[in-house]
């Protein structure tokens, strides 16, 4: 029996920045290996879990993606006194980093603090200004010599954060973006075992999404599926944010409508959720979705693509907060959708003309 919450905790507490996803892929592999027929790793860092469909004739090929990387910092320079200057790998808001505990992954993993000036020493004017990333530093509490023995330029820095349970099914931690989707994808694979599905499923943990959706593009080229499904997070509702830009937590996964999404896939997923009484919210988009869906849609001769998201508050911080029920429903919805896919449906996806 797959324990989704436990898996989410393990995934989020594992360090895996863009380009360094192997540990996260390892956790995914351990959790999902027994659920699928085959696991493959490619030469650039994607992991693919393959479940074959049943039935005669050519099987439709469905690819799922959930990116495995998280945003991190990186050691850019070791200053006099052993303080570290940092570079971004993905986009933190530098305002959320002040006073944050971090883990620096050198020859051993050590804890550091992103230092802040105490209010006693800062002027009122200073406190009105945000501190740019360039001026942040990490204090490891060690001599420069000791620091240099353990840490080198190019080492990764992740947030030090244990994932916690809030009220009900709400959970909070770092890297919920996008380990929430990795979890949903695993739940989907687990659900698929209970269903008859004609389609062969390629569930890919993709690399380097946070610096521009790299892995999904190369994996889509490799597998060239008939249908691509990206799973990612979207903004959760917070006060003062326009209703089209953020969705409610706990009211189901989010389906995107927009130019990057195949119209028939949108309709099919929406109608299925209605029929099966699975809660679903709709998000509208007018161009880029900033997810794996964007590059996949135009790989080779083009791939019909759809995007399912988990609403998430405080994106790109160390306290990303979500409702686990949204993850569970996303997994179930995806599995049931995949079970409906047959060759006729796939053929219909390139027919846009009436008569």
């Amino acid at each position: 029996m797959l324990d989704g919450k436990q898996l989410l905790i393990r995934l989020t507490e594992t360090a895996g920045g863009s380009g360094d996803e192997s540990r996260v892929a390892g956790v995914l592999r351990e959790a999902a290996e027994s659920l699928v027929d085959e696991v493959t790793l490619d030469s650039v860092g994607n992991i693919t879990l393959i479940t074959r469909g049943t039935g005669d004739g050519p099987h439709p090929r469905v690819m799922l993606t959930a990116h495995t990387d998280e945003i991190t910092l990186m050691v850019a320079k070791i200053e006099k006194g052993g303080f570290l200057r940092v570079a971004q790998v993905g986009g933190f808001d530098s305002r959320t980093l002040l006073g944050q505990e971090v883990m620096v992954h050198g020859t051993s993993t050590i804890m550091g603090i992103i230092g802040s000036k105490p209010p006693h020493l800062s002027t009122l004017e200073e406190r009105k200004k945000t501190i740019p990333l360039q001026e942040l530093f990490i204090d490891l509490g060690m001599s420069e010599q000791h620091v240099r023995e353990i840490v080198a330029v190019g080492d990764r820095i992740t947030m030090n954060r244990h994932t916690i349970h809030l009220l009900g099914h709400r959970m909070s931690g770092k890297a919920m973006d996008n380990r929430a989707s990795v979890t949903a994808m695993t739940i989907c694979l687990d659900e698929l075992r209970k269903l008859h599905h004609h389609a062969d499923v390629y569930a890919v943990g993709t690399m380097q999404e946070e610096i521009g959706s790299k892995g999904a593009q190369t994996a889509a080229f490799h597998h060239m599926p008939d249908i691509a499904i990206a799973i990612d997070v979207c903004h959760g509702e917070t006060p003062g944010v326009s209703s089209d830009l953020a969705k409610k937590l706990g009211e189901g996964p989010v389906l995107t409508l927009g130019p990057r999404i195949h119209p028939k896939l949108f309709t099919a997923v929406r109608d299925l959720a209605n029929m099966e009484n699975i809660p679903l919210q709709v998000e509208v988009s007018q161009g880029p979705t900033w997810t794996d869906a964007d590059p996949m849609q135009i790989v080779q001769i083009g791939i019909p693509t759809v995007l399912i998201s988990i609403p998430l508050r405080y994106m790109h911080t160390s306290v990303e907060t979500l409702d686990f029920e949204d993850i569970r429903f996303a997994g179930i919805l995806l599995a049931r959708f995949i079970a409906t896919i047959d060759s006729a449906f796939v053929e219909g996806l390139t027919c846009y003309l009436k008569n």
């Binding site: 326009s242 409508l257 927009g258 130019p259 509208v284 161009g287 083009g302 846009y352 003309l353």
Partner: protein, 341 residues
Amino acid sequence: MLLKKLTEAFGPSGFEDEIRQVIYEEIKSYGDSIYTDALGTLIVETNLEAKGPKLLVVAHMDEVGFMIVDINDYGLLRFRPLGGVDPRILVSKPVLVGPNRLYGVIGSKAVHLQEPEEREHPLQLQQLYIDIGAHSREEAEKYVTVGDLAVFATKYEEVGDRRAKSKSFDDRVGCAVLIETLKKKFNLPIVYAFTVQEETGLRGAGPVAYRVKPDLAIVIEGTVCFDVVETPSHGQSTIQGAGPALSVVDSKTIGHRTFREHILEVGAQEGIPVQLRRTIGGANDIGAIHLTGMGIVSAAISVPTRYIHAPSQMISLDDFFNTVRLLEAVLRSIEQGGFSI
């Protein structure tokens, strides 16, 4: 009237159903094979067994439009653009909304009700809304769903000295050039493609180029033209009435020199006026096509279009006819072996 039919059809980026069907009805008795791809691009194959270089000729059928993203308690619709629009041009323009093509107007607070300070600033997108005449959210929801699309309600009309105006010469004028051309016979393998989603990032053209793998590609566009009062020569890009414009360099492509020079030569031989596009700003489907596979020799020929991405765009009908002539002349020259890669 082809230009009228094409420019008044509805088809924001990613939602090209109506314009695609309009084009299909025009061309369905031509070509050897007509089909759509995964993104919805309409592809017409002609004479693929003929000898000579394989050509891909492209015009995008999508237009800049709007998506309804929220309905407020007054029954007013909040919207966001699909494609690049300057918000300053939006206020007080009629639009067509949703599958029923309802009229709406883009409104904002009346100027009388604005503080003097407010009047100094251009209106922001969040200060604008579409009013379809609904009394309440409930009434509006009967007609409109979040995610519905809207376009400017501008009619096609001929104006001035052989000019015409419409909402979408970018790039329905290119679609018209393709339709006129594919009705002619060429002893060349030519694939015509009416692409989707050019306005949201040159999305449709790459997959077509990957599928067709042409030796040569030509894009027909409606391009920037600002040959108006007080604009210096280097701010104009093109001159209306001076003939089709060839792209040299834009933000996504450094044009293929030899192919461009060939087209200029063909224009000169045939007595067709041709100009060079004199700006680096903007881009067209060539940006995606020329980098496909191992690279594709390409050119872009454009009809100068004033007030591009605005409610009333203007072209010269002479430029349109000369673009049709130029494209035919270029294809004939290739047919006769006048250009090799």
